[in-house]
Amino acid sequence: MLRYIAKRILIAIPTILIVSVLVFTLQQLLPGDPVLTLAGEERDPQVLAFLREKYRLDDPIPVQYFAWFSQVLQGNLGISLRTDIPVLTLILSKLPVTIELAIFAMIIALAIGIPTGIISAVRKGTSVDYAANVVALSGLSIPNFWLGILLIMLISVRWKLLPASGFVPPTEDLWLNIKTMLMPAFVLGTGLAASLMRHTRSAMIGVMRSDYIRTARAKGLLSHVVIMKHALRNALVPIITLSTLLFGELLAGAVLTEQIFTIPGFGKLVVDAVFNRDYAVVQGVVLCTAVGFILMNLLADVLYVLANPRLRHSR
């Protein structure tokens, strides 16, 4: 087991290296001169030259890369060109917000996705199954941003039920925090709920067909025990794995949602940084997201092994 984890981490290292190169190249690809954006409306040539010097933008790209990456290895992600705030500080302040959003969305997704998936699998081929599938597909098919704006227009503006956007830290006002998170989490969660539902359904159908379910029934176990204990326990393995992976996806999906609901999280940070050519922030945030994603993958693998007695011992 430990050996397996060590092995997985070892494999993650080259991936992270490639990510760092990719991140760096990607933003070099971004058109426009960051200095022009930084210098402001007036574009004073003196200032331009100073900024170029300060951020070493005239160095050859590989030099810039190594300068950056060696700093990263020392735990220094640089300073936001736009706001002067250290990137790490920014990330640490934004991350909880996005994670809260992601957790909320995940809770919504799990709360909707898994029960409907189970019901749909158990009632396979009935109208309940059919209806659940249609709803799930619709959830998958609705464009997030459209749903977001629609909800704002209806729920916030028309009915004034929930705040339209923004973020209130839970430490400040927990109730308001939950209220502000509800809509974005729902928007973010629907797509996930749909995909969770479909995966739960197919995992459950697969498991329900298996021989050991027949064995459980042959022991005379009642059907709810068979479903909730024997089937779900095994179906949960792929579902847990998927959820972890989806969580990584959620972080990425947060980009658009945060944009719509102006939630000061990770996604908004990076999109704004892209448009403001705040290189240090883009690099730092994308690198962190990628590392987070890889860690999530790692976690998914480990959980998969942990949840699977068969693998737990043999690895």
Partner: protein
């Protein structure tokens, strides 16, 4: 019909099972009747797809419904018709009075729970005893199926065991509540010869000890010869021949039974080419309307094409479904 000597524990009459979507009038199990007496072993033999498992599952109430559906027949078990019990009553009976073991030891145990838990769970389901007592009972069962170091094995997961071990666990699980009837669906097919022999002898020993009745499903005539008291030969959903094990092996009447025996290579010195049955089992769409074995039967003629022969009792307790049984009487002339 067969085994009338004692009053039967289970008496199945005219069982017919149908799958949704199958062609009209084609039942995967058609008018099947047999009975098992206490302490006796009934073997059901037949090639793949002839309806053996479906029959067994229907007796356990484990048929996937839909698509499968019992369209006729009764199964009298200890005075009650299994098919008219409620789902709850069936569940109470499963793993208690009747138990079943399956072909695939590799997949028949839940990989997520220890084998101990899985056995105990079955015991607690049907007995009002404490968990500790159930555990004691489970341990005893493991000892009875000759699992070495049973205390340790209780905590093991199925994947940590070999196929033979797992099949022993399945047997322990099935017998934990001392069922009156054990249905074993090809319990050794997936195992190696040496293990297969171990399992067969284990089952026989346990049966002797407990006096339960057993239905053993197999396609291996060797296994049949070793353990059966009564034999039912099925072909394409119907019984083609039934009788005591001696009658079937010494005096087979149906062309299919004969062909089957001819198809098994002998263990003695080679005696030339094998006798074969040509062709394959017809699919449901292709099912002939007369005798279902007709397209493959060397003796078939017009009559077989049009009319299904009845299951006729040739000698007491020996039945065959062929217009021309005994063959030498009707077909002996042309050689």
């Amino acid at each position: 019909m067969a085994a009338q000597r004692q009053s039967p524990l289970l008496q199945v009459e005219n069982l017919s099972i149908r799958f949704d979507g199958a062609p009209l009038g084609i039942n995967v199990v058609d008018n099947v009747s047999f009975s098992v007496a206490k302490g006796k072993t009934l073997c059901i033999v037949g090639e793949s797809g002839c309806g053996k498992s479906v029959t067994a599952l229907s007796l356990m109430g484990l048929l996937p419904t839909p698509p499968a559906r019992i369209v006729g027949g009764t199964a009298n078990f200890g005075g009650r018709d299994l098919f008219s019990l409620s789902e709850r009553e069936r569940a109470d009976m499963r793993g208690n009075q009747t138990a079943m073991i399956f072909q695939e030891p590799m997949t028949s145990l839940n990989p997520a729970f220890t084998v101990g838990d899985q056995i105990i769970e079955g015991i607690l389901r049907h007995r009002r005893i404490s968990k500790a007592e159930a555990k004691e009972r489970a341990l005893e069962m493991l000892r009875r199926v000759r699992i070495p170091a049973p205390e340790k094995r209780m905590r093991a997961y199925p994947h940590e065991m070999s196929g033979g071990m797992r099949q022993r666990i399945m047997i322990a699980m099935a017998l934990a509540n001392e069922p009156q009837l054990l249905i074993a669906d090809e319990p050794t097919t997936a195992l190696d010869v040496t293990i297969q022999a171990q399992i067969i002898s284990l089952i026989r020993r346990l049966q002797d000890e407990s006096g339960m009745a057993m239905i053993l499903i197999t396609h291996d005539l060797g296994v049949v010869a070793e353990v059966a008291d009564e034999v039912v030969v099925m072909y394409a959903g119907r019984i083609v021949e039934a009788g005591s094990v001696d009658a079937i092996f010494e005096d087979p009447q149906h062309p299919y039974t004969i062909g089957l025996m001819g198809s098994v290579p002998s263990l003695g010195r080679r005696q030339g080419r094998l006798a074969t049955i040509r062709g394959t089992v017809p699919s449901a769409e292709m099912m002939p309307k007369g005798c279902r074995f007709m397209p493959r039967c060397p003796f078939a003629d017009e009559r077989c094409v049009n009319d299904a022969p009845p299951l006729a009792e040739l000698e007491p307790g020996h039945w065959a479904r062929c217009w021309y049984a005994p063959l030498e009487l009707h077909r002996g002339g042309i050689v």
